[in-house]
Amino acid sequence: MLVFLKMSVSFTFLRPFARFLVPFNLHRKRRDLYSTVLQRYMSSKTPAVSCPDKERTSSEQLELDGWKITMKSSVVTQEGVSAVSSSKDEDSLAATRELIEMWRLLGREVPEHISDEDLKTIMESASKSSKRKYLKYLYVKEKMKKAKQIKKEMKAAAKEGAEKTKLLETTEEDKQQNFLFLRLWNRNMDNAMGWKGAQAMQFGQPLVFDMAYENYMQPKELQNTVSQLLESEGSNRRNVDPFHIYFCNLKKDGGYYGELVKRYGEKWDKLLLTATEKSHVDLFPKDSVIYLTADSPNVMTTFKHDKIYIIGSFVDKNMQPGISLANAKRLKLATERLPLDKYLQWETGSKNLTLDQMMRILLCLKNTGNWEEALKFVPRRKHAGCMEISQYSQEFVNQLKKSKTFNPFPKGSLNVRTKKW
């Protein structure tokens, strides 16, 4: 009851009270007076700096309201400009542009320059928050671009300076030196990697990227996925013993294909991997396939060189758990997940790793079989460190190896046993 009473009182009493505080008429008069003063100011083109000492003694109000008049009057010059533009465009496109400009004045995170397509995307986005998010994305993009530009300029300047000094120093010593090789390292490396890739195409272990998740992803997620695919292909190419990569379920008319071709350019047709519209179950026997998914109940204990591992190329920012597990269940495939909890003290973040991290882990496992080494590719921020227990069991295994010289058990079963003791 009390609260209610208070409310109504404040509502009704507020207005007359406010009026009483600031006498309105007086105020008006003073403003008129000021505008004449101001015109004088404008004509002489001197900034309207008020002399504080004098005015303070006479009246406080005078000094405090001075800025208003200049604010209102400075329009006189501005109005001419704004009047022209206001006459022609009243559509919401211009309104949105102006809104963004006002936001920028407020110090919000919006881009300085915005293209018409982006403006349309913003207008078409359904909610306020999606508008804001897209604007922030553009803002960050613009900022990065600017920073890069500045860096580039600085580098160019530095290079120029260095070359100048170099020229001054080394004008006379222009003699021949004896070299064994020409400087063609990059091309040689590319060639070598190409040979290795061709070898992997013939004899390498298959590794499948399942591209069946196109419909579950937003355009942005799809772009991220393709970036990750590019990265994983790159790290595979550089490896000593690369996988033979398959892109399965890659539809020729889908978004994946378009994006991949766009990113790779003319290199796409020369890539040493197999891209196919067929499914992985058509290419390989079902019982040799293992689907890797973080939702799997089974833990991967060792890397098997006779199996075909499948990675779902799927970036899930939408929180749709269990889609890849459902896919594997549908096709009745074996599933496995990485033993992250066994070897790492997990702290934050999802257990879903990016495609390139998966690729590096698998490559490392393939070459060394060492879990500690392989799981170094898990981002450091996600875990606190390696488990000591697994190190202990590793030592235990090594001891057994030494004593028996032959280890009949697979590593996993031994680990289980040591835990139980």
């Binding site: 406080e60 200049t70 919401s92």
Partner: protein
């Protein structure tokens, strides 16, 4: 007490960071203020210390804070008392109480107080501002920083004005937009209408269009003036780029009502609903408050429509709104309404008038709709492999079809894991046999791994369970909760289910808010949660509400649940206080 301790803890750190400043502080007064600062606003350290002068304000602030903590303590006590032990699972404040029983979550961090920055209290002239700017050493732009401090601290307008005058003098008489907006905020906060109008004129002159933040402030400021109609024009301007917020509509409606323009208010209200916005309760309250002075059938009908809107969208008025509703009803001439604030008995009888409230059970159509929705969205969800497999689903459907309806469906794993120290199978057997003794037809849902003999699941105990109840074991990687929901829904309205799970994730799978509300209503009426804290005693359940907590009427009576101001309610809880209105015969 606690905040002082924490102050001591971080003292050395402070000493390290701000050596210079600590040397400067030597009076007793300053030490006090130091503690105060630590407990509440470690983030503010840098800012506060950039001003080396110490003012008497600090000790005042300390007292104020002390008072605040004391008050908070009292409030907690009150809350604890109010949520008595017999409150049901979905009662308002129950979640908070449950979390308080957890010892880990006890040390909640008190919100930082921003007021520790020492701001000028009276207008400064330009030299003083210049000097202040020299003293300020921070990353941000001084003008921006000080103006946001002034707005945060709700300083007097004159201070802000002198700042603007200083800035304008430096920049050829031009004040940037963000400073203007901050100044406008301050004017609106202090309700200085003439200042607001001045700023409005300036903005109109300088900028062709503003952004929603500026518009919102202008609308909020203008509605109390004589030029309130221009607020409506500003609202139109917002509409050109985006849908106005419910606050914008609230302000405009309040303004219209304040100036007795009822038709505009109702038009705006309809527009608000048309945008699928949920109106602020303050908006609705304003209509009721205004209604007291109006004797008009049309208006009365519209107010009753608002009450039905509350009912359909399961909204609950706040305490002051409930008072407004009561006052309005009692002010209707010739109808002699009598209102009182009461609670409702477990049996569903209102303590005020003795009438029985609406039942929690769904109507047959609603029930069918819910059943279908649970089947198609929660279990199937477009991909049967996500939660189960088609074979398993078939097996389950057959199983349910050939069993007679059950009385109680038990979430085996949830019940078994209730006491972490006891063996799972034993707990489950205990619960099942106690219920079986009451001649209830039971269904236990679980997963296949429960049947494998191990230290936690004894085979003989599971066999005993299977003798006393029907069991269905899903695959280990399937989800069991959807099966639980479907089995219960399939058995009929009398069937209940036992789990402590609040099922929020499954509720979220439902397609729209309406079905989710149906689910919640059904859940309130059919979920049994075991509240035993120790094993061995007779199991007791949280009592099930027999009535629906929603705004309801029988023509000559209204029952309106409302939220108390001092109780925090989670979204899945319902209030337990009621406003009972009936006509005197």
């Amino acid at each position: 007490m606690t905040f002082r301790l924490s102050g001591f803890r971080s003292f050395p750190e402070l000493w390290k960071n701000n050596k210079k400043v600590c040397l400067g502080l030597c009076s007793g007064n300053s030490h006090l203020s130091l503690f105060l600062l630590d407990g509440y606003g470690i983030r503010n350290q840098q800012r506060w210390f950039s001003f080396t002068t110490v003012s008497p304000q600090n000790s005042k602030a300390l007292n104020l804070l002390n008072g605040k903590t004391r008050y908070r303590g009292k409030e907690d006590e009150r809350n604890n008392k109010q949520v008595s032990s017999d409150s049901h699972l979905f009662a308002a404040g129950a979640a908070k109480k449950r979390s308080q029983m957890n010892p880990q979550s006890k040390d909640h961090i008190s919100p930082p107080v921003r007021n520790t920055v020492q701001l000028p209290t009276k207008p400064l002239n330009s030299e003083e501002w210049d000097k202040l700017k020299e003293d300020f050493k921070g990353k941000a732009n001084f003008e921006n920083w000080i103006s946001s401090q002034i707005t945060h601290g709700h300083s007097s307008i004159d201070v802000a004005k002198s700042l603007l005058a200083w800035v304008a003098a430096k920049n050829n008489g031009i004040v940037s937009y963000d400073l203007l907006v901050k100044y406008l905020y301050l004017c609106v906060f202090h309700k200085q209408t003439s200042e607001i109008i001045d700023v409005y004129e300036i903005m109109k002159a300088r900028y062709r269009r503003l952004e929603p933040g500026g518009y919102t402030l202008l609308i909020q400021g203008l509605i109390h003036s004589d030029r309130w109609r221009e607020a409506l024009l500003l609202l139109e301007d917002i509409k050109k780029v985006m849908i106005p917020s419910k606050k914008n509509y609230n302000d405009c409606i309040q303004g219209a009502l304040f100036h007795q323009d009822v038709n505009t208010a109702w038009t705006l209200y309809q527009e608000l609903l048309g945008h699928d916005l949920i109106p602020m309760l303050a908006t609705l309250k304003a209509f009721f408050d205004f209604g007291k002075n109006i004797k008009d059938d049309q208006y009365t009908k519209k107010l009753l429509d608002i009450l039905l809107y509350l009912r359909n969208n399961q909204l609950y008025p706040g305490e002051s709104f409930a008072h407004s509703i009561k006052t309005w009803f009692e002010s209707i001439p010739g109808e002699q309404w009598k209102g009182q604030f009461t609670t409702v008995q477990k049996s569903g009888q209102c303590l005020g008038c003795g009438k029985t409230l609406e039942s929690i059970y769904l109507s047959p159509e609603e029930y069918e709709l819910l059943k279908e929705n649970v089947m198609s969205n929660v279990i199937d969800g477009g991909d049967q492999y996500k939660k189960t497999t088609p074979e398993e689903l078939k097996r389950f459907q057959n199983f349910v079809k050939y069993c007679p309806p059950f009385d109680i469906v038990i979430d085996g794993l949830n019940v078994a894991k209730m006491f972490p120290k006891a063996r799972e199978s034993q707990v489950l057997l205990d619960v099942v046999s106690q219920l079986a003794r009451q001649n209830l037809r039971l269904l236990v849902l679980g997963r296949k791994h429960m049947l494998r003999q191990c230290s936690r699941w004894k085979k003989d105990e599971m066999e005993k369970v299977q003798k006393q109840a029907s069991c269905f074991f899903a695959d280990n990687i399937s989800e069991d909760d959807p099966f639980l929901l479907y089995a219960t829904l399939h058995s009929g309205n009398h069937c209940k289910f036992i789990t402590k799970d609040l099922m929020r994730d499954h509720k979220a799978c439902l397609p729209d808010a309406k079905t989710q509300r149906l689910f919640f209503k059904w859940q309130q009426g059919h979920q049994l949660a075991i509240i035993n804290r120790f094993l061995g005693s007779k199991i007791t359940f949280q009592h099930i509400l027999s009535y629906d907590t929603v705004v309801q009427t029988t023509g000559d009576s209204w029952h309106i649940p409302y939220d108390e101001d001092l109780v925090e309610r989670s979204s899945y809880e319902v209030p337990n206080k009621w406003l009972c209105l009936h006509r005197k015969m």
